[in-house]
Subunit: 162 residues, 2 copies
DNA sequence: CTATATGCAAAACGTTTGCATCCCT
DNA sequence: AGGGATGCAAACGTTTTGCATATAG
C-alpha cells in the first residue's frame, strides 16, 4: 500500500511520460482518492465528486470521470462493479490483489484474498484454451449475526447478481 | 435442462400462484427465450426484442423488460452482466450452475463449472461470518489460438473488468 | 366487471462528448 | 503561443415509469 505522496509522484511521472498536464484538479482528485481517511471505501464517482466539490466547488462531474479514467490508465486505480450499478474505484496496489464480498443486509463491501481460487481460475482458463487476462468475482452473503458494519443503514438496498 | 413446454408450465404455475395473467406476449417471450435453437446464447434484451418482434411486431420494448423481470422472479431466468454493459439473460436450470469466461478477442461467452471454486467461495464467506447467498464470477481470457468462435467479428469490443 | 398488462413516449440513470474557454508547459 | 484540460450542457445507451387503452379471469 502506498500513500498520497507516492500516488502523486506516480501520477506526475505518468503525465510527464505521456505529454499530459499536471493540473490542480488532477492533483486534488488524486489526493482525495488516496486520502487514508477514506481508504477502503470503494468510492463511486458521486462519492468522489462530493468530496472534491467540498474542496473546490467548481470542479465538474466530467472532470471526475476523466481523471478517474486517467488514474486507471496510469495503473493507479481499478474500477469494479459491485451490487449496485455504479462503477466504484479503489487504489491499485501493485502486488496486491483481492476480491469482494458484499453484505446483502447493508451493502458493506469487504475484501478478501484466496490464492487457491485464483489458481483454479487460471487453470480453468488454460483448460479452455485461454490465457486468463482478468477476472471479476463478487460474493454476496447474508451476515450470520445482525449486521454490525458501520455502513449499515447507509446503503440499504444491495441487489445480488444482476 | 428443461424444454419450452416445461418452461411454459412453470410460468403458468407462477402466474396462477400470484394472481397474475397469462398473456400472449408473456407466452411468446417465454417460448422464444427457451427455444432450443437459441439456447446458450445469453441474449440481451435487445436480442430478445428483435426475435420477439419477428413473431409479433407490435410488442413493445417495455414488455420485454417487464417479462424478463417476471421470469427472473419466477425462477426461470438469471440475469448476468458480462463484459459489455448490457444485462444478458439465460435460463435458470435448477440444479445446474455455471460461470462464464469471456473471450477478449471476440466477446464469445463460454460457460464452465468448477466445483472446487464454488466450495472455496462458500468457505471464504463462512470464514468472514457470512452465508454465501450468491456470487458472480466472470473470467476474461485471451485465446491461445487466433479466435475461432462463431461469434468472432460479431461482437468486436469486449472490455475486461469494469 | 375489475384488476392486471400492454404500448407508447417520456423520464431516469450513469456515463460520455462537443465545444468554447482556460491554463500548463 | 499552442496543445492539452476544464466546465457546462447536451447527447448517450440502457432501463424504468406514467398513463391511457386493451385484455384476462
Amino acid at each position: 500500500m502506498f500513500d498520497v505522496d507516492e500516488a502523486l509522484e506516480r501520477l506526475t511521472r505518468y503525465l510527464d511520460d505521456n505529454g499530459l498536464k499536471s493540473t490542480a484538479q488532477r492533483r486534488l482528485i488524486t489526493r482525495i482518492f488516496f486520502d487514508p481517511k477514506h481508504r477502503q471505501e470503494h468510492p463511486s464517482v458521486e462519492d468522489l465528486y462530493l468530496r472534491v466539490r467540498d474542496q473546490d466547488p467548481k470542479v465538474g462531474y466530467a472532470t471526475i470521470y476523466r481523471t478517474l479514467k486517467l488514474l486507471v490508465d496510469a495503473g493507479l486505480a481499478n474500477p469494479s462493479r459491485l451490487g449496485d450499478n455504479q462503477t466504484r474505484y479503489e487504489p491499485d496496489v501493485p502486488g496486491e490483489h483481492h476480491d469482494h464480498l458484499v453484505c446483502t443486509a447493508c451493502g458493506a463491501i469487504l475484501e478478501f484474498e484466496e490464492d487457491r481460487i485464483e489458481a483454479l481460475q487460471e487453470s480453468v482458463a488454460k483448460r479452455m484454451g485461454f490465457n486468463l487476462a482478468n477476472h471479476r468475482m463478487v460474493l454476496y452473503g447474508e451476515p450470520d449475526d445482525p449486521c454490525t458494519a458501520p455502513q449499515c443503514e447507509r446503503r440499504p438496498s444491495t441487489s445480488p447478481q444482476p
